[in-house]
């Protein structure tokens, strides 16, 4: 047999790109986003300083589009296409993996809707100069608050299950034991992100800055 080059089908490549884009850059950005927003737990000044630093990076719009907006649009758009091609049967076969399969689709949609609204209100309506008080103001509205909590939980869940899926689907966790470990890793990530996300929301809502005394100490 000749060493003919392998030509994977285009749908194969798009599907792999969908899986990869959920981890990098989308998942990685989510981690960065939760991290920089947890500066709210330190204090208002520190948060604004951190925000300004991010808002003044060079090539800002290009970086945002390439690393955040386009990957999220692709991941969400192609994800909906994948959803439409599947047919959930969790009522007939209520196994854990099957539940995760179904929930992964709904949480993805909720997260996508939330992110769209979140980017619109906090990135575009503020002309890219969102501050602590903008977010704090938004979270005074009980509906916005509820939407934030739901958005944070849906995104965290989706990332956690996504990590498990990614490790299985790239064969990085191939044996039953490795897949079980991958599941635990995904669950931990989902839980930690949920917790941190909620703490950030609480911080804005109650003006609660538990790590603030380190700032005042010096």
């Amino acid at each position: 047999m000749s060493a003919a080059a392998t030509r994977p089908d285009r749908s194969y490549l798009l599907r792999k790109l969908h899986s990869l884009s959920g981890i990098v850059p989308v998942g990685a950005f989510l981690a960065e986003h939760f991290w920089s927003n947890s500066y709210a737990l330190v204090g208002v000044a520190k948060y604004n300083e951190k925000s300004q630093e991010l808002q003044t990076i060079p090539f800002r719009v290009i970086v945002e589009a390439a690393v955040i907006w386009l990957p999220i649009l692709y991941h969400g758009g192609y994800g909906v296409y994948i959803w439409l091609k599947g047919k959930s049967n969790v009522s007939d076969y209520p196994w854990v993996g099957n539940w995760l399969y179904t929930l992964q689709r709904y949480t993805g949609l909720v997260a996508f809707a939330f992110i769209g609204w979140h980017v619109w209100t906090e990135r575009f309506l503020t002309q890219g100069k969102s501050t602590y008080s903008d977010v704090e103001h938004a979270l005074r509205n009980p509906y916005y608050l509820a939407f934030y909590v739901i958005g944070v939980l849906a995104s965290s869940f989706h990332l956690g299950v996504g990590i498990w899926n990614f490790l299985c689907k790239w064969g990085l966790a191939a044996t039953v034991q490795a897949q079980r470990a991958a599941g635990k890793l995904g669950a931990t990530v989902g839980f930690v992100f949920s917790l941190v996300g909620i703490l950030i929301v609480v911080s804005f809502r109650l003006n609660w800055h538990p790590f603030g005394h380190f700032v005042t100490l010096k």
Partner: protein, 250 residues
Amino acid sequence: MGETKKVILRVKRQAGPKHAPRWEEFALNWRPAMNVIICLRDIAENPVTRDGKKTTPVTYESNCLEEVCGSCAMLINGKARMACSALVDSLPQPIRLEPLSKFPVVRDLAVDRSFMFESLKRVKAWIPIDGTYDLGEGPRMAPETQEQAYPLSRCISCGNCLEVCPQVNENNAFVGAAIISQVRLFNMHPTGAMHARERLEALMGPGGIADCANAQNCVKACPKEIPLTESIAEMNRQAWKQALLGWLFG
């Protein structure tokens, strides 16, 4: 003397591929160690419905009666199972029998599983041993590989793993877990490995391995306890590696 115990069966019947389905109910005399195939045989002996109407015997497939031929897969109380190993005493009644839903119905409970056979051909699920001359003995297989290969070789092409997979449906031509696992089996074989690249390439084609969405139902439904999710993960790794190397080095 008390009344004989009855087994109530509801069977989804369909006269042909284009006919509308209908339900028929049967009441059979209970016997010890009865399984679903025995029920269908009893109906064939005396094809009368529960309300006394004469009907035709129910069409179904079966052969080995010991879960090794794969022909008797059907939906039993809504779940994909082998009828020959489905014991009546372990099933809540009335027992509902339906044909597998992911394959075209031929008649009653018999379905056409040629989609699986065509997929097996697409991935070259065989070991080439014929030539225009005597090819001689093939290389030996390490005992460790044999141990891995044996469980995979037990697939009986029943189709249960396709039936329970949310990714296998009329909008999606996903080949399903069994075929991916067979690629692993044949690529593992020292002679079969001569076609390893082509098999992986077929798996990277339309309806191939990338359509798996990791619901992991297949491994739960397989009557032969084949480690299907391991096979899929393993083949996924081999596939993207081959794609990447092919792209980098031609």
